[in-house]
Symmetry: C2
Subunit: 464 residues, 2 copies
Amino acid sequence: MPEDDDENPISEIRRAIAANDGSALLAAAENVHYADLADLYEHLEDDERDFLFKTIGPELATDVVAELPDSLIEESLSHFKPAQLRVLLGNLSDDDRVDIFQVVSEEEQVRFFSLLGPRDRELTKSLLKYDEDSAGGRMTTQVGRITADMTVKQALAVLRRDREDTETLARIFVIDEQGRLAGKVRLRDLAFNTWDTPIRDILDDADEFTLATADQEDAARMLSRYDLVVLPVVDEFHHLLGVITYDDALEILQEESTEDMEKLGGIGGEQTELTYLNTSAAIHYRRRVIWLVGLAFVSILSGYVMFRFSGVLEKAFVLSLFLPMVVAAGGNAGGQAATMVIRALALGEIGTGTALRIAWKEARVGIFLGVTLGISIAGFIAVILPQFHPEAPTTFSFLKLSFAVATAITLQVLSATTLGALLPITARAIKLDPAVVSAPSLASIVDVSGMLIYFGTAAAILGL
Amino acid sequence: MPEDDDENPISEIRRAIAANDGSALLAAAENVHYADLADLYEHLEDDERDFLFKTIGPELATDVVAELPDSLIEESLSHFKPAQLRVLLGNLSDDDRVDIFQVVSEEEQVRFFSLLGPRDRELTKSLLKYDEDSAGGRMTTQVGRITADMTVKQALAVLRRDREDTETLARIFVIDEQGRLAGKVRLRDLAFNTWDTPIRDILDDADEFTLATADQEDAARMLSRYDLVVLPVVDEFHHLLGVITYDDALEILQEESTEDMEKLGGIGGEQTELTYLNTSAAIHYRRRVIWLVGLAFVSILSGYVMFRFSGVLEKAFVLSLFLPMVVAAGGNAGGQAATMVIRALALGEIGTGTALRIAWKEARVGIFLGVTLGISIAGFIAVILPQFHPEAPTTFSFLKLSFAVATAITLQVLSATTLGALLPITARAIKLDPAVVSAPSLASIVDVSGMLIYFGTAAAILGL
């Protein structure tokens, strides 16, 4: 959200709303990008929202509504009378319209359908059958379609006729008589060739496409990988249904990154699409509380292990100096491994087929990390600790202690690293989102094993 | 990386390389997207790489080299003779060429400069002066430029002449006689208007632009926010220098997301651009070891607090049952808060100006979370624990214990949540990357305070 200052048009709009000055509001709103207006809308009170939309009217409001977070869609449309709604719903691009139909209540959906023209109604119904997260649920059908037997002149005439309803002309798709995808041309190829050039002479193969039922994330990754402006969406018979555009890809990939990051951080539930500050404390609370309470009860297991080993601790309280270290090192190393693997899975760099190679790589990294940590800590205990605590524990030497702690931390880091890599891959293999393996949940598991490893190793090596 | 199967052209290429069959290799390579060839290249042995590039030649190899990770650039160019290199370097788009000059050694840079034509040499030198992470360092200068006094026919003639050197015609920019950005038109506006239409009648304002010195991330976010295909880059006098395209934005935002996620997970150092499996275990190790060893030594502080309170623990070992829980709950809650705030900062949803509102929101969330946890745990201790451990501690009741643990966990979660939100904002305020506040480092800090809070509260309430 841009910061307010007196110069910028958003401030002008705010002042016009405050002053109830409709003509100033309209003039300012016409100079502002709809994305900024949508941002502003989030921050307005109900009566201010009403004044804004009544003033700018359904034409200008169309793009603003399309840009709003899902949770504000139904409310925002309540500011319009049926005749205005008819205009607004008709103006929407077909993919934005479907998004809106997907989030409003069933009664509103029925009412909105009654306001659509017959063509838009059929189209919206047919798009609603695709899953919200599929390529079909995200595509727009508003794409330039020509056939190979046209000339450049005929193609330009067709495209010009439909241009108002065409979202992008960056790529124009060539279909055969059955409507199947047969190739693509660029608008520049039309603009720079003579009018009598046949389309079949200048068309390129359309090698990249996606099925309508494919995951939107896979489609977005394809756009990104092959630097495409638009990706055609086809059905199982290769009929061209629509396209997904680069801006959809940007949005999808950003959403997925946010989702993965939140899951990794132990935050549950759906993203709200509202900005951080516009999300109420109650919703922030709800998205965090379940993991937090659940993990707290898992931690009682760690506590129980510690309680059971209280005899060992009682014999040598010096062990408490390194208990948090050994336990935490596992959580940290496991979290690092899980983060790397989850991101690599998300970027499509690795798949479940490479599980063994990943496990082998992480086991090597884990053993190097564990040994490094072990040696560092052993050095600290054997050399530095005696300077501060000259009274060595009675039953064993600092050297023996250093060996016990080093062994424990090596085992803990090795096992945590391997587990941190394998759990997300296992999740993917059983069709779960790899990011369900959050760093906190991994930490609470390896906390338990860390307690066992630490006390077990110490008891065995130190003879406690 | 797509999985290998016998049908796909990548497998054909692999077979042709194995069989040393140049003509089969060339035929297969011509049917494969350069992004896939670059992926394959990463997985080849040195002699296979040589055979591949010698066979496909510099023209086909240009896009492949541009797609390779930085660490392979210099090696990949070593397969070409000077005459071939001259072709390859000349074929590169100017932004890709600059990227390559930025990552090769100084001697190679000098040698490559000598292979460039005078125009490309000047251009590359002028682009190299921009920071790698700035909009100027990322832009291409290959953009369609026309003036307002041209007619559509004249504009099309200019664009047609330059079309080979123009990266995108999605937007064509209108400049004045000083070369300053004066507006934009779409190719479709040219294609669908009569040839004698003056450009000034159809040009739109170019409201969105970025300075060449701006951060590439801000530029990418602008492209994303306003759904732009290209964003013009200007100098301080508003001269049009070039454009950043949607595919740059996708790449930049994905890189930044990966970087933030890795930092949050406690992984340091630069991203390698190599895929996970192609990154050696040694590099994986290096990126994790410093944090891991550093945090281990911070954990000794926690251990020291525990050691100092061993008297309290000795009096009531039942306290060890809930020690890991109270400590871990702080790390988890703090990590959740830090994740939310770091992502919101990255998405531009919040700034340092809103620090107080964020702290207030997180404090409320923290108190709700803390009280919920406190009540759950108190209930567990007062009601469920006595069923398993009928022998209550001698000096205090289960009820009193439940009160002490609940108080400690409430304080711990409240303080950790507030800290987790404030540290990233503070980092941003002093111009550090907010994601330096990794979840593990935050956890190791709140581990220390958790130990203090737990033992302090328990000692006070239970009179130990």
